[in-house]
Amino acid sequence: MALNTASEVISFARKLEEDSAGLYETLAERWPAAEETWLSFARENRKNIVQVERTYYGVISDALEGCFAFNLDADGYTFPAGLPEKTGYSDALGQAVAMEEKIIRFYSEAAEQSKSLMADVPRAFALIARKREGRIAALQSLPDR
C-alpha cells in the first residue's frame, strides 16, 4: 500500500510505534530479566508518537506539500504484531532487531522524501531513526538466555 500524504504517514508511524511497543511489553512479560530494557523501549515509543504528532500538528499548513510529500510502500515496513507462543529467546531478539531495522528504514526514507517539503517533520523522523539505531546495539548486547 502506497503512503503519499503526511496524514497517513503520521498514522502509519503511530501504528509502528504502538505495535513495536506491544512487542516489547510482551518480551518484558516473558523474559523479565531484561524487563527494564524492554519497557524503556516501549515508553520511548510512546514519546516518539507524541514527538511526531506534535511536530506534524505544529507545522502543517496550507502552504506545505502535505498531500504530495511522500511515496512510501507501507508493505516494506510492516512486521508481525505479536510474538508466537513458542518463540524462543534468541528468535524473539532476532524479531525485535528485524523490526527495529524496518522502522529505522521507514523513518529514514520518510525523512529523505519529505526533506525540504514538510518543514520540521523530516527532522523529527531523522531524529527518531538515529535514536532507534542505538537500540539495535542494545538488543544485540543483551545476555543470551
Binding site: T5, A6, D62, A63, E65
Partner: protein, 496 residues
C-alpha cells in the same frame, strides 16, 4: 485507509451569534449546506434579515467603548484562552472543514494551524500596538503618537478557506480593541459557527464578536451601515472592486483581496524531482480553489527535450493524484466545493479545447477512490500549448486545471507574468540565485515564491497583493493589520 470519523452526526440548524447569544433567524430563506463529497445535507443556514444584521452592528457598537477601555493585556488573555480552546478542538475543527468544503484532512489541519497562528501573533498586541515618541521636538515640547481602535469592523468571508480567512483579520481587530462582525460564506459557514462557540467559551464580553449568516444582501447591509468603520473581504475581483468603491463612498477602511492568475515559472536548471511535489500542491491543492494556486505553468528555454521531460513528469504526477473523500487520509485531492464550481471549471475546459489548447490530461471524467457521487468531483486537467490570450491562460479558473506555456527566456517569462491583470502569488523554480533575484525584482506581484509553490505569508507578515488582486493600502496579518485596525493619534505637549 479508513475514513476518519465525521464530527457532524445530524443536520445542524445554524444560528446567528449576536451580543453573546445564539439567536435564531426570522428569515424564511434557509439554505442547505451539503457535504460536497457525500451530497448529504449537514446543516441549514438562514439568510439573515436586514434587521438581524443591524442588530449585530448595534451590539458591536455598544460593546466597543468598554472593550476599548479593557487593557490590551486583558484583551489578549481572551485570545490566549481562545488559542487553547482551538488547540483542544483542533481535530474536530479540521474535520468540520473537510465535511463542509471537501478539502483533504491535511489541508484542513493546515487551515486550522494557520488560523491559530493568527491568534498567537495577535496576542503580541501589547508590544505591537505601542506608539513612539520624541522629546524636545522644540525646546520643552514633546511629541508622541498613540494607536487607537476605531470601532466596529466586519469581514465578508469566502468559501475556499472557511475557517482560516476570517482569522487573517478578527484576532488583530479584537486585540487592538475593536469589535467585530463576521459574515461567513453561505456555502460553508459551519466552521465559523464552531469558532464562534469557542470565542463564546473563551470569555469575550457580549457584542465584542458577532456572527451573522447571509449572502450578498447581508453584506450590503454591513457595507452601507454608518457604524461600520472598516470592512475586509476576500473573493472575486469584480465584487471586490464594487466593495472597495462602496467603502470609499461610505468612508470605511478596506482590505479587499481579489482573484488571481498565478504563474509558476520553471527554469531549465531546476531540480525536477524536488519541484514536482511543490507544483502538485500549487496547482491541485485545495482542488485549485485558492487565490495562491498555480494556474499557468511556464516552462522556460528552447530545449525541447527539457520541455518534454518536465511536462511528462508534471502530467504523470498529476495523473496519479488520488481523488476522493478528504476524511480518507490517503486522499490527495477532494471534490470541488459545489456543483456550480465544477460546472464553471468544465466550462473553462471546453473553452480551452475550443480555443486550440491541447489536452495533456483530461480530468472531466472523475476517477474517485470510494463510492461517492460524481456531482462535485473532477480529476486534474493539464493543457499544453496555452497562450496568454486564451481564456484559460488569462482568467481565473479556480479549479484543478493547469495551463502550460513556453517562454524562450526568463525575460519573456517575466513579461508574460507582468502582462496579467493580476498580481497575487507568482513563483520561480530555479537553482540560480541570479534568475531568482531578477524574478523577485521585476515581477509585479504581492507575493513571490522562490522554489515555493504556495506563497502564503505567515501570520507575522502581511498577505500582500497587487494589481487586480488587491484593493487597498494596508494588508491583512502582521503589522499591516495592526495599523489597519488602529488610527494614529499624534499628541504634541508643552507644560507651562
Amino acid at each position: 485507509m479508513a475514513v476518519l470519523e465525521e464530527p457532524i452526526k445530524e443536520v445542524l440548524e445554524l444560528k446567528n451569534y449576536i451580543n453573546g447569544e445564539w439567536v435564531g433567524s426570522e428569515s424564511s430563506q434557509i439554505l442547505d449546506i451539503v457535504n460536497p463529497t457525500t451530497q448529504q445535507t449537514i446543516a441549514r443556514v438562514p439568510m439573515s434579515t436586514g434587521d438581524e444584521v443591524k442588530a449585530a452592528v448595534e451590539a458591536a457598537r455598544e460593546a466597543f467603548p468598554d472593550w476599548r477601555r479593557t487593557p490590551p493585556l486583558a484583551r489578549v488573555r481572551c485570545l490566549f484562552r481562545l488559542k487553547e480552546l482551538m488547540e483542544e478542538n483542533f481535530e474536530r475543527l479540521s474535520r468540520v472543514q473537510t465535511m463542509e468544503h471537501g478539502k483533504t484532512i491535511d489541508e484542513s489541519r493546515g487551515e486550522t494551524r494557520r488560523g491559530i497562528e493568527m491568534v498567537e501573533v495577535a496576542t503580541g498586541i501589547p508590544s505591537l500596538m505601542m506608539g513612539y515618541s520624541l522629546e524636545d521636538i522644540a525646546a520643552g515640547i514633546d511629541e508622541y503618537v498613540i494607536y487607537q481602535p476605531l470601532g466596529v469592523f466586519c469581514h465578508i468571508a469566502p468559501f475556499n478557506f472557511p475557517f482560516m480567512v476570517p482569522l487573517w483579520y478578527s484576532p488583530f481587530a479584537l486585540a487592538t480593541g475593536n469589535t467585530f462582525i463576521v459574515k461567513p460564506s453561505p456555502r460553508d459557514p459551519i466552521s465559523q459557527v464552531k469558532l464562534a462557540e469557542l470565542i463564546d467559551e473563551a470569555g469575550f464580553p457580549p457584542g465584542v464578536y458577532n456572527l451573522v449568516h447571509g449572502g450578498a444582501d447581508a453584506a450590503g447591509v454591513l457595507l452601507e451601515h454608518p457604524d461600520i468603520k472598516g470592512a475586509t473581504f476576500v473573493g472575486t475581483s469584480q465584487i471586490g472592486r464594487d466593495i472597495y468603491k462602496k467603502c470609499g463612498e461610505t468612508g470605511k477602511r478596506a482590505i479587499v483581496q481579489g482573484a488571481a492568475k498565478n504563474f509558476m515559472v520553471v527554469m531549465p536548471d531546476v531540480n525536477i524531482g524536488g519541484t514536482i511535489p511543490a507544483l502538485m500542491t500549487s496547482f491541485f491543492g485545495n482542488t485549485g480553489q485558492r487565490c495562491l494556486s498555480g494556474a499557468n505553468l511556464v516552462i522556460v528555454g528552447q530545449d525541447d527535450a527539457f520541455y518534454r521531460k518536465f511536462l511528462n513528469a508534471f502530467v504523470e504526477a498529476a495523473s496519479k493524484i488520488k481523488v476522493g473523500y478528504g476524511l480518507d487520509e490517503s486522499i490527495q485531492m477532494g471534490p470541488m466545493q459545489s456543483p456550480d464550481g465544477k460546472e464553471r471549471v468544465l466550462g473553462f475546459i471546453e473553452k480551452g479545447i475550443a480555443e486550440g489548447a491541447k489536452l495533456a490530461l483530461d480530468g472531466r471524467k472523475p476517477k474517485i477512490m470510494g463510492d461517492y457521487p460524481e456531482k462535485c468531483f473532477l480529476n486534474p486537467t493539464v493543457f499544453e500549448n496555452v497562450t496568454p490570450d486564451m481564456t484559460i491562460g488569462r482568467e481565473e479558473i479556480f479549479g484543478p486545471v493547469a495551463s502550460v506555456m513556453r517562454a524562450e527566456s526568463l525575460d519573456a517569462a517575466i513579461n508574460l507574468v507582468n502582462a496579467s491583470r493580476y498580481g497575487n502569488g507568482n513563483a520561480i523554480f530555479t537553482s540560480s540565485g541570479k534568475s531568482a533575484r531578477e524574478f523577485q525584482y521585476r515581477v509585479e506581484s504581492g507575493n513571490i515564491g522562490i522554489n515555493i509553490g504556495i506563497v502564503a505569508p505567515m501570520a507575522f507578515f502581511p498577505f500582500s497583493g497587487m494589481k487586480d488582486s488587491f484593493f487597498g493600502v494596508l494588508h491583512g496579518q502582521g503589522r499591516d493589520a495592526v495599523r489597519f485596525f488602529t488610527e494614529s493619534k499624534v499628541v504634541i505637549q508643552r507644560w507651562l
